[in-house]
Amino acid sequence: MNEFIETKDVHLYYGEKEALKGINLSFPARGINALIGPSGCGKSTYLRTLNRMNDLIPGVTMTGSVQINGQNVYSPKTDTVELRKKVGMVFQQPNPFPFSIYENVTYGLRIAGIKDKQLLDERVEESLKQAAVWDEVKDTLHKSALSLSGGQQQRVCIARVLAVKPDVILLDEPTSALDPVSSGLIEDMLLAIRDNYTIIIVTHNLQQASRISDRTAFFLNGELIESGQTKQIFMQPQKKATDDYISGRFG
């Protein structure tokens, strides 16, 4: 049976350096998947192969196959613009555009050619509500997104991704630059939308992974050590390295 996202034997090189050493990993449709591992283990790099963000970095070469919903992501026929509409991404640092909150959230839609004011308004409210930031910004939608706090900015960035209704949401350490309260809000929000999206989150925070994810994959030195149900990874890891990492003996 085919999984929603399937990656086979993914190798990735930054110049000479091999950053991913043959990753075989798949994710079912819907639910939250956590990628954990120490810094430099390749988890962010792996995440970025899924929407081809690594294409932007000069000197990167990649082999192996990545399929999302049966589509070969690295086929020459793949339109990266279309791909990234289906596979949204949230970054470590909040990166709102220097425009109003409203414009930020509608950006993807308006680029896609949607002009209907009513539809845009609806989508803004819906996305901001999903991202758990509506109550805080509903009266200041036309203020610059840069005037918000870091936590609010990050949730607006998530709303910006949700607005285009992607299938997959990639989050690259989305809460590591935020305070615990904002992080908690984002975790709750992810739990609330887990049934509608395939979510893959890179995190350094093991508690976060164990709190919110359904499945967890552990990366070390560019290799996938172990993956499975989160409960199992945290309670009965099969590999010693996994056990050492989650019990804090290194990393």
Binding site: L56, R84, F91, F97, P98, Y107, S144, L146, V164
Partner: protein, 297 residues
């Protein structure tokens, strides 16, 4: 104890140098303005200049300076915008772009009188454009182009990579990311650079002596057809600018009030350049605030 003394000595010297710079500037500005401002009047700013009698103004020169500046910007801004975007966003790091960068650097360090003579030989003589505003504008473009390109490239490069990733990750093409996100964000820096460059162009004389010429033909401010030779908008007429006028009065001026005209013109030029600097700051800050702070609607 020794490092403390060293620190204080260094600090004292640096302060002294800073004060010296400010004093020199203040002295220069004070001298020029004190000598010139009393001669500035509405008549002085609008009347045509006189070659042999006193009471001449700088109206035509002032208009020429502004018109030349506008033309220069119209020619140089689109070119440097394209070049800046290419260098900041698209240029691969290879031998060819290294040469382009170096060419820009060399171009920006060419002495203005050399650019002027080159313009004279190529545009005025070879291409038979004569001493004209157009020849002058192209010569000034040579100057402005490297500065402006560099400024635009740097303003674009100063926008964090995260913004590019945000755009791309949202499914924007590279071109749209650059034009719809990166460019607006870099705009305050770009505008500041354009206005500062404009100040420099406004005060340029050496490159214009041989290209836009040293004579201010009488122009008819009621005739706005650019093809009419008396029209202020005619690009093919010779046009002495304010800076060239100052140079000319001081080297061969025979009117009885040459000193007064020179002082007044200098003051006007300095005030204009100061205004450009002030405008650059105000515009840059205002744009930055508009982008980052609250909007009214």
């Amino acid at each position: 104890m020794k490092t403390k003394v060293e620190n204080q000595v260094a600090l004292a010297i640096i302060r002294l140098i800073a004060i010296l710079v400010v004093v020199i500037l203040a002295f220069l500005l004070g001298d020029i303005l004190l000598a010139g401002v009393p001669h500035i009047s509405w008549h002085f700013l609008t009347a045509p200049s006189q070659s042999f009698t006193s009471g001449g103004g700088i109206g035509i020169q002032l208009f020429n300076s502004i018109y030349l500046l506008v033309l220069t910007l119209i020619i140089s801004f689109p070119i440097s915008l394209g070049a800046g975007i290419f260098l900041a966003e698209y240029a691969p790091k290879n031998f060819l772009t290294a040469i382009v960068r170096m060419a820009i650097e060399v171009l920006s360090s060419l002495p203005s009188v050399v650019v002027g003579l080159f313009g004279f030989l190529l545009f005025v003589v070879q291409l038979k454009m004569g001493f004209s505003i157009l020849s002058g504008a192209i010569a000034l473009t040579f100057f402005n182009l490297p500065l402006l390109t560099r400024n635009i490239e740097e303003s674009l490069a100063a926008v964090p990579t995260l913004q590019r990733e945000a755009g791309m990750a949202l499914g924007l093409s590279k071109w749209r990311t650059v034009t719809r996100i990166i460019l607006p964000e870099a705009l305050p820096g770009i505008i500041t650079g354009v206005v500062l460059g404009a100040g420099r162009v406004f005060g340029e004389a050496a490159a214009l002596i041989y290209t836009a010429g040293q004579s201010a033909t009488n122009i008819d401010f009621t005739q706005w057809n650019p093809l009419n030779s008396a029209s202020p908008l005619n690009m093919m007429r010779p046009a002495e600018t304010l800076a060239v006028h100052i140079w000319k009065i001081n080297s061969e001026g025979v009117m009885p009030d040459a000193n007064a005209v020179s002082a007044g013109s200098s003051a006007v030029l300095i005030i204009a350049v100061l205004l450009f600097n002030l405008l650059a700051r105000v515009l840059g800050n205002a744009l930055y605030r508009k982008l980052t702070a609250s909007k009214t609607n």
